[in-house]
Amino acid sequence: MSEIILEAKNIKKYFPIKKGFFMREVGQVKAVEDVDFIVRRGETLGLVGESGCGKSTLGRTLIRLYEPTAGEIQFDGHNFLKLKGSELRKKRRDLQMIFQDPYSSLDPRMTVGQVIEQPFIIHGLLQKKEREVRVKQLLEMVGLKSSHINRYPHEFSGGQRQRIAIARAIALDPKLIICDEPVSALDVSIQAQILNLLKDLQKRLNLTYIFISHDLSVIEHVCDRVAVMYLGRIVELTTREELFANPQHPYTQALLSSIPTIGTGKKKMSKVLIGEIPSPINPPSGCTFHPRCPHSFEPCSKIIPALEGPVDHTKACHLYDPKYKKTNLTTQKELL
């Protein structure tokens, strides 16, 4: 088992809600609540969940675009949250991000060359000539032509723009890249190109990815391990094979059964989840999933389940707690 590159401990991120003339704080949006996980060097960890589950907030908190409300992040041997000033800057080189919307993440007034050389300028690396050589090299690495260097983002299609964003992200030889829904704004045929590119670069540059997506088919394609999030918490964390073959948390099961699949025929939707995601301002008591859960029983509304189980398959669900064994624990087959 390879070494741990990033460890997140009890990460919390609350956003204050302010109201009135004095902007008094009247409440908090609990976007991320007690999240723990590790990422190993060279792997791809998927974060999956529906909108509002906190996956993007978590991604942004990990690179300190948002300062976490509480928690600890160990990155590459450093206590990342304690770093300041030039030290933080230096460490940030190793941590990059690719955003969802390639239309808003590139400055429309900068040429592609300027966009990609920004990281070198910011970090005071390379001379002008060297920068140009490197930028051209990067463009070719992501499947664009070096002659594109003087064009503006609007001259490119969505897929090509995402390639530019990827070139910018890998410019400083990072160790870890957080990909926040990198393909959800793209057409299917273009999605495949970008997913293949990300995989190739991972092999070539020995990158580690944290891959955020709402699309389970994409997650299944790229990830080694997957964390399923619901209302700010991780509800199940396991390997890809386990997750798709043997999902245990009722939410994961519902999520998997809602993926539309090709070639199964016109079918009756069976396991459709009722209700919607509750508000993170005032989350339900106990297990936050219990109002929608088909298997909820007494403790669910009272006690928050911990993420437990064998190391390679943890889940936060009372159904698997031996304390409650007597109650009606249905088998996998029945649940699905």
Binding site: S51, I190, A192, N196, H214, L216, E220, P260, K266, V272
Partner: protein, 324 residues
């Protein structure tokens, strides 16, 4: 059985500064009573323009330049503006992709529904209110009475889409166009909406045209499918047949480029390049510049849409199809 919907040689042209551009180029199809036709394609292929043309919602610089759209034998494209207002929302209705932009933010859900119900069903205030609330209940909106007087921003995305569906169905349309109705929604909510949609369709025996870019959704809701590219039909036929054995290289590529649940491959098949810009469309087949099976004649001649000899229920426009 006579088809409820017949579209013949539909052509919609946008007169742009750079010259005219045919967003929809001679599309023909028909849909029978109670059937669902899925139209699938990537952005810019003309699938939404097709629906807007049928609803007579094309605005300048666009114009429907050719073709017929027969709804129960009546050519909708020839109706006067006033006549079309009686049909739109009544006999045929449309559900849009983004309920937040399709609904009027300063009017309550109830007001917007009433307007339509009063016009088409000629009901008085009280009856139309009852009808609206009944529809909201039918689409599974909890506490429908309160929601009736709510504004669109007070509802969640899934609820807004339900309200849109309720509105579209409130006058018992015979023909419903659903333009990417679930694309903006989360998977679990998408599953809820698709389920609702199917049960309502069965109940009301509606004829539906369902537009999406998601082959998975198409495969679960539609009986027939029409694959579009560059404003033209690539192939059309029964959904399962086409998805299991696509004949057009574009359909095949579309299916293979989608990561499939349960079938993990090291690399996804890709379609090289991207959809060409309107003025860059090849002379012949619009897919020629990205096609792995391209022949010299593909560049110069448009492949005609013809019935496949061995599959009389399928039509294909390709000079060099895959074996099926």
């Amino acid at each position: 059985m006579n088809p409820v919907v017949e579209v013949k040689d539909l052509e919609t042209t946008f007169f742009l500064k750079s010259g005219p551009f045919k967003a929809v180029n001679r599309i023909s199809y028909s849909i029978n009573q109670g059937e669902t036709l899925g139209i699938v394609g990537e952005s810019g292929c003309g699938k939404s323009v097709t629906s807007f043309s049928l609803m007579r919602l094309i605005e300048k610089p666009g114009l429907v330049t050719n073709g017929q759209f027969l709804l129960n034998g009546k050519n909708i494209l020839l109706l006067k503006d006033q006549e079309i207002e009686n049909v739109r929302g009544g006999e045929m209705a449309m559900i849009f992709q983004e309920p937040m932009t399709a609904l009027n933010p300063v009017l309550t859900i109830g007001y917007q529904m009433d307007e339509q119900i009063k016009k088409h069903m000629r009901l008085n205030d009280k009856d139309s209110r009852d009808r609206a609330i009944e529809m909201l209940q039918l689409v599974g909106i909890p506490s429908a009475k309160e929601r009736y007087s709510a504004y669109p921003h007070q509802l969640s995305g899934g609820m807004r889409q339900r309200a849109m569906i309720a509105m579209a169905l409130s006058c018992n349309p015979k023909f419903l166009i659903a333009d990417e109705p679930t694309t903006a929604l989360d998977v679990t909510i998408q599953a809820q909406i698709l389920e609702l949609f199917q049960s309502l369709q069965e109940k009301m025996n509606m004829t539906v045209q369902f537009i999406t870019h998601d082959l998975g959704v198409i495969s679960e809701v539609s009986d027939k499918v029409l694959v579009m590219y560059g404003g033209q039909t690539c192939e059309t036929g029964p959904t399962q047949d086409i998805i299991n054995s696509p004949a057009h290289p574009y359909t095949a590529a579309l299916i293979l480029s989608r990561p499939q649940h349960g079938q993990r491959v090291e690399r996804l098949k890709t379609i090289e390049g991207s959809v060409p810009a309107p003025h860059e469309l090849p002379q012949g087949c619009p897919f020629a510049n990205r096609c792995p099976n391209v022949l010299p004649q593909c560049w110069t001649h448009k492949p005609p849409l013809e019935t496949i000899a061995s599959r009389p229920d399928r039509k294909l426009a390709c000079f060099n199809p895959l074996p099926i």
